[in-house]
């Protein structure tokens, strides 16, 4: 009986230690995401001035800058915009490939989640694509078990409604 209680104490202590370690890891993970996120933001704002000076080491930044911008839509003609424009489909292809790669390789999931975050928060990106990215975040946070901070003031009601339409 006594032995059993000692075993339980030892087991709980291990459990506690394990969860502290795990919590620590989660915090580290959140910090990592935050740091990567701000790094990407700096690069993203720099991009507008010098679009060709993007470091290759910045993961998925090339993909991020390739997404269609609102200004790209304004340059299309009446024929090109009646149905979903090619640039929207191309952008969605990029988002889909990143999702697919991360689905196959769990090690790529944090990077992918960060990409979706940067995509949905960038007000210059076409709303159809941002809504797809927001929907990915909504569905993948619980599936991949990756927490991510979304800047609420960068998401309009319209964007949220569009993302929810995909549920």
């Amino acid at each position: 009986m006594k032995k059993k209680r000692i075993f339980l104490y030892v087991f709980s202590a291990f459990g506690l230690a394990f969860s502290i370690i795990m919590m620590g890891q989660e915090e580290i993970l959140i910090e990592k995401i935050k740091t990567q996120s701000s790094a990407l933001k700096i690069i993203s704002s720099r991009r507008e001035q010098t679009p060709f000076q993007i470091s290759k080491e910045d993961n998925l930044n090339t993909e991020l800058v390739s997404l269609p911008r609102v200004s790209d839509l304004k340059n299309l003609n009446e024929h090109e915009i009646h149905h979903t424009p090619e640039i929207i489909l191309k952008g969605a292809s990029v988002v889909g490939r990143i999702h697919n790669n991360a689905e196959q390789l769990p090690s790529k999931r944090h990077e992918a989640m960060l990409f979706f975050k940067n995509c949905l928060e960038d007000e210059n990106i076409a709303i159809a694509i941002r809504a797809v990215c927001l929907n990915k975040v909504y569905t993948l946070i619980p599936k991949w078990r990756i927490p991510i901070l979304i800047e609420e003031d960068k998401i309009s009601l319209e964007l949220k409604e569009l993302a929810k339409e995909l549920f």
Binding site: K74, E78, I81, H82, G96, N100, I129, A131, E165
Partner: protein
Amino acid sequence: MKKIIGLVLFLTLSSHISAKENFGGIYLDSSIPKVQIQTLKEDFIYLYNTPETEVDSEFKTVFELTDVNGAELYNWVFNRVRYIVGQDYKRTGRNLLKKKGHVFPSTPLPDGVFEKGFHTYGAVIIMSNLGAELYLTGKNENILKGLRLNREEVYVPSPRTGIVQVGEGLFLERLLVNKEQNSEANKIKRLGTIFHEARHSDGNAEHVGFIHNVCPTGHALSGFYACESSRNGSYSLEAHALKMLLTNCHTCSIEDQTKLSASITDSLSRVVVRSHLKTEEKLLEEIEAFQRVVEFYENLFKTNPDMKKDYESELIKFQGQLSESEAQLVELRTPKIPKFLDPMPEGHFYEVLVEDSSELMEASLSR
């Protein structure tokens, strides 16, 4: 009696069509390249084979369907798309038919449709609804218009006559979902476009053809006729159709799903109520700024009446902008969902029952 006349008309037309190249009762013109004809046939078969599907009430409302399955969905399309011509079909010269003496319904025409031209049907590169265009221009000129399709004369006494034109864009890889022309994902993408164009065969009076509206200020496509303010127009229907078909897709990869999802959000982003695009704070700022300019001009004219002659037009312009912002603020403060437009088509047409369109499809399938 009406039913009997309808059935006779239907059978006459069906036998007429069946003498030419047709599939499931839909006339496929020889101007469509063979490979595209084959693809379209397979798309219609795919649609016809849609299983009984659970959808939300909004889907049933906008499509006016109680059951959602292949036969019902095909029938929905069939009632709006009866004739398909190819990109090279010439709708001028001897192919364009005109007949005087037809009495059109005495309903008003859509606002500004002739000034702007047919931007809404302009996307020849992908697909366009010629029937709606012929009906509207015919009604405007009080001449019944039609097209010669091979040797048959097809007049358009209603947008529901259902003549559409397919362009190479409907089959282009870069405008589709993946490289495999007949993959499920590509079929779904094309069917979404077909549902969109089919909706242009509906509506009456001011909204004949469910013509698109100009996208409002603040919208990414501002100034283009590529938006709609109703909840049951072509863009809404396309989005609902894509979403429903996507739920039944067995072979869609994550990338396919993402591209189709973007097509859905793209379509829905065009269903707009002006005020939804701006925040209250933004509108109040606008109003304040315009008010200041209006007050300035009003005071200027009081103290310097001579200047009124040169600057009155400016005052009118700013007063207009001020009223627009004020109207948007009222709209924002009284949230409303986009209105539901009456889809009942005007003019002479007959509604084909689901049993009849299914029979035509079954006959084509057993050939």
